[in-house]
Subunit: 372 residues, 4 copies
């Protein structure tokens, strides 16, 4: 394919991560043409130019609309805070650009729906940044499930925990305001839901409970303000495929740094995974001799696609940023029209958001709710 022109809007955690991915993708994957880093947008021109130098972009603007308007830009990486996603995403799609948008789609479901509609109308690739689905271990788990290696699935549990909100002394910030969303549901639950989507399918019903460890937090001026978001959310769920399961998230979980712990139970075995050690997974199968049955700790290696594109030796390990490189490659495949590309587009993404809003609704109403 011809080289792709890249525009990047936003240069925080995910902005740098996207830049690294665009930079590396063609070197890692021999079948991908080298993208051109064309135009970077930031909140003001000075910052934009500094970042463009750092991240290797040719041009910079203090106005994101110029990035979208740039005729050399074929695809826009959108990494701004969630609240800006709808306007920017829709504008990019309407301008005929492909779109790589960080998750979640938008604070409000109606906005996410409008984004989905714009993507459908534009007919362009519109891919969300659910990078955890891209690891060699999760892909291998997906293959094992498809092969029924652990038999017919009947139950799953998934947890996502970090501790960036765990400190009671952290002052009140924008993530404690209701305007930022529900809290851990938006920050975290969407990630496990992306894994549920690729591994198991749709969620039908949920009952959810949310909690806040600290009811108020200190203000800069010395007072305290009630916290409006929820750091903890726990849900029971029924899936369309007949499985039952639980989804538990906590962004105030001291000691957890990047945990996404998955337990999958089937009629012939089980599978465990933890994102904190995402270069391995654990497999238990009943076909092993009774005296030798146990969880196998499988270290990712070249036999687990696409590990080998990064390192030819097993057990050497990919990093978090490498997952974004894989995602970028899948995005490019999607842009090229490859239907086998492993991405979460705006249709599937909307389903994830629908489930999140159902969980919040369940908490408010105090009982089971249908996702649809």
């Amino acid at each position: 394919m011809k080289s792709i022109g890249v525009g990047l809007i936003g240069t925080g955690f995910m902005g740098k991560c996207h830049a690294l991915a665009w930079n590396a993708v063609a070197t890692v994957f021999p079948d991908v043409a080298r993208p051109r880093l064309v135009h970077l947008g930031e909140a003001d021109g000075e910052l934009a130019h500094r970042r463009a130098t750092e991240l290797g972009f040719a041009r910079a603007s203090g106005d994101w609309r110029k990035v979208i308007a740039d005729p050399e830009v074929d695809v826009v990486s959108l990494t701004t805070p969630n609240q800006f996603h709808p306007e920017m995403a829709i504008a990019a799609l309407e301008a005929g650009k492909h779109l790589w948008c960080e998750k979640p789609m938008a604070p409000h479901f109606a906005e996410a729906e409008a984004m989905r509609d714009a993507a459908r109308k534009a007919g362009k690739a519109a891919v969300l940044g659910y990078n955890y689905i891209q690891s060699p271990a999760i892909r291998q788990i997906g293959r094992l499930l498809a092969e029924k290696k652990v038999g017919d699935l009947n139950h799953m549990r998934i947890e996502m925990d970090e501790d960036f909100m765990a400190d009671a002394e952290t002052p009140f910030g924008w993530k404690h305001e209701a305007a930022s969303g529900y809290g851990a549901l938006d920050d975290f639950a969407v990630h496990p839901l992306s894994l549920i989507a690729v591994l198991f399918g749709r969620v039908l019903r949920v009952v959810c409970d949310m909690a806040k460890p600290y009811p108020d937090r200190a203000l800069a001026d010395g007072g305290r303000r009630p916290v409006e978001t929820w750091d903890i959310a726990s849900a029971l769920m029924k899936l369309e495929n007949g499985m039952s399961g639980t989804l538990l998230v906590n962004r105030s979980a001291w000691g957890r740094k990047g945990r996404i712990a998955l337990q999958i139970f089937g009629s012939k075995g089980s599978i465990l995974f933890d994102q904190e050690r995402f270069n391995e997974f654990q497999l238990y199968v009943t076909s092993d001799e009774p005296t030798e049955q146990g969880y196998r700790t499988v270290l990712a290696g070249p036999q687990h696609e696409p590990y080998g594109a990064f390192v030819p030796a097993p057990g050497h390990g990919l990093g978090f940023n490498d997952l974004k490189v894989v995602e970028c490659r899948e995005l490019i495949r999607r842009i090229e029209g490859d239907r086998q590309a492993r991405t979460i587009g705006f249709d599937e993404g909307l389903e994830i958001e629908r489930t999140v809003h159902a969980m919040a609704r369940s908490h408010e109403q105090g009982g089971w709710v249908n996702v649809r």
Copy 2:
């Protein structure tokens, strides 16, 4: 104190375990007088005599009432199937015997209440076999919580999983009949609830969902019969102390053998524990240097009471049966009137059963229920 005369009714898994405990308790704990193994009861006289020889009891009867009537018997170990507990327990208490009764109390709440009433009336020690509360690690965790080592608690998760029901080929048996109870709720949930009771206190509200991986199982005669019990139960809960939490149990969880996994989150740290490796626990505290914070894997040793009564060297490990020895010692302390003894009596046990029935009710009704 004077030597205690012991009667044992039932000689299955727990019967042998009680016998081992009565045998060892005085050798392990120097402050305990050596119990006399007086009278063993089994379903028929021949079996009773064989078991009495094997387990070291002086007398044997094919009628459990003779054990209870034996004037040399001071305390009765009751290890028969749950459905026999009410009649036997009440008879023993009415005969003025102390009672060590395996968990859970009874299939029906009214029966458990009657047992509780009998215990109150008799004024004798009536202790339930919740041995998991006795391990050095769980006791140390209790001390850490009391010292607020991890700050104010805000959330907990507890799971209990084994795989003895995981094989779809296992034929229909009595544990699949509704008469045996709810399923995993009786078999498993009571154990985590005993830990919740000693570590956190009472449960106020629950919402619970149950599932059965295999809707029917093979009968001996070649047909199939619907399974009436539930192997999986998942619950969200609110505790009296303000914590929220989850309790997840599964007796069809391939690969899990004796898992009771506990996660405790507080404002200053967190604690992890897994019964499959019950000689250790994990502690994370925010008072460690930021560059050196991490879960400490603490191996049980003599500094964790009562490990040292078994082995003076750390890291050598206690076994499952040792927990029952500790429980037996606490029972003897209770018999001697020691109010500091760490036991779960019939009052606390009834509270556990109340919660189990509330969980079942929640599943039936499809929403949150109050435990009381």
Copy 3:
């Protein structure tokens, strides 16, 4: 068989452990007659009587010769400090008693040889307390090796580490005197060597280096005295079966509590084990699918003999003291003339001591030495 009369000499760590084993063995193993705890010997009569009450022995003496002379004593448990082993062991054997002697045999090789000669002459069971060979996991590993599950063996590594000598502030004691032996070689190396003996066979050649972290230690009177023993010993070795290997021990290894870490490499897989988690082992086999190869963590269960005699449910765990119960049962089998009993007798024990002395000689001479 008829009941065995037991005499116990010494009531420290191992003395209590033997008493617990004699107490429990017949209850755990249905095929063993209940031993009678006849006569306990300690350094003085008052202590002896106190301990006899605590440990459940019928008689007590302040003179160990009376224990040996007691006609009701069939077997003597010898758990005194190593230096007393030769005189007591030889006297017991000459008195026609069976003998259960704690390891190692004696500080000096000639003494150990004399013990071996006495055992041969007496024709009685003479068994050493190498309990680590008795665990279900180690036995299962032995079976796997015999079945060539990991192919032809080519290399092994074994480490044993604890930290009871790790504190630089611990004052000078008898274990720092040369009279107590070499140090970690006597305390620790004999245990890994017992595992090597049962799993792989004899050691042919060794090169060993010893080290002491603290050259001197404080005396009670305020001065300091040079340490004469070695806390650390490291050796390379060649085995009779063609394997090469390493044996590394350290009793000043902060953080290690009861580690005996074993790595076994063969042409078709490998096996790992650590005594700190001795209810599990790890198995890697090349016959697993390439995408699913990994170390299986196998939890001990009833399928791993003799676990089931203790607990019928897998994953519940044995404790350190349980290993001594197994050893006691094997001793009784040996007394009964069962040649299949799994014990380390004085012949095999002498071979272990021979290797230890060869290691010390290698350190002194600074090069490889032959064991024989």
Copy 4:
């Protein structure tokens, strides 16, 4: 600084890894100018051009001398097989280029010495590819040792194991010929020695034993040929700083994929590390409460430099290729004259090779040898 022009010779495992590093370094580290990928050399021109396109280099040559002669090339990445290092490295240095040379330096010590001399004479940066010293965890361990967090060091053990030679059916190849070097000593031992160099300093004396699991291997024509190299090497050692230690390597260790296991013992604690999980390390300190002492599993995060340059969130994990990006950044700092740069230059590298040759000499001679 001004932009650096890069030449790359060799495009295998390490060649691609260098290319990725040159590509990413300026995006990851804001203080580094973006390198220009100028000229790629491969064995023939066609391959060179293909690789140049894949890896993003502007020019390509089938003759490595043209890369070195290219005036736009400031630094040469040398990733060809070891035997070519001496000629190419010396030519590059003589041409006034900086040099990034993969480890080890050369098969023969005299060649390595000549390379070291050339580097000294040229006065250019000459850095070896010892990337394992660059991980945030190893750097943090270095800081902890410098702060005496675990007290005075007295002992260390280090192991490096993989299984790429473990299959007995792998046919005879160039790595089985003596011309390729000693075997595991060259492939592996140099890596642990690089860690010893940065963490502890120089090795004084060694005794080493080598072994080969498979004495011969199949030839393509059907016969078998004796294996001339050694897959296993085990050594005891004395360090200049007074520590004793062991270095054990095995490239036929089934189940091991990228293990570099380090154990460090001091008077106040200990540290563990394993490269298979290089985003974490374990720390045991005696300053923790006795009831709470245990190995802390510390997950790498932004507090462990230079993790934060890659990901601002802890516990998300770096990958193997990221270590090479760090190394590349340190190389650039070295080129810029920064004496604080963390690199292993040709002087330190020669010391590592000297130790390797001493180990081989010890094996041949059968005893202890001095490194110098």
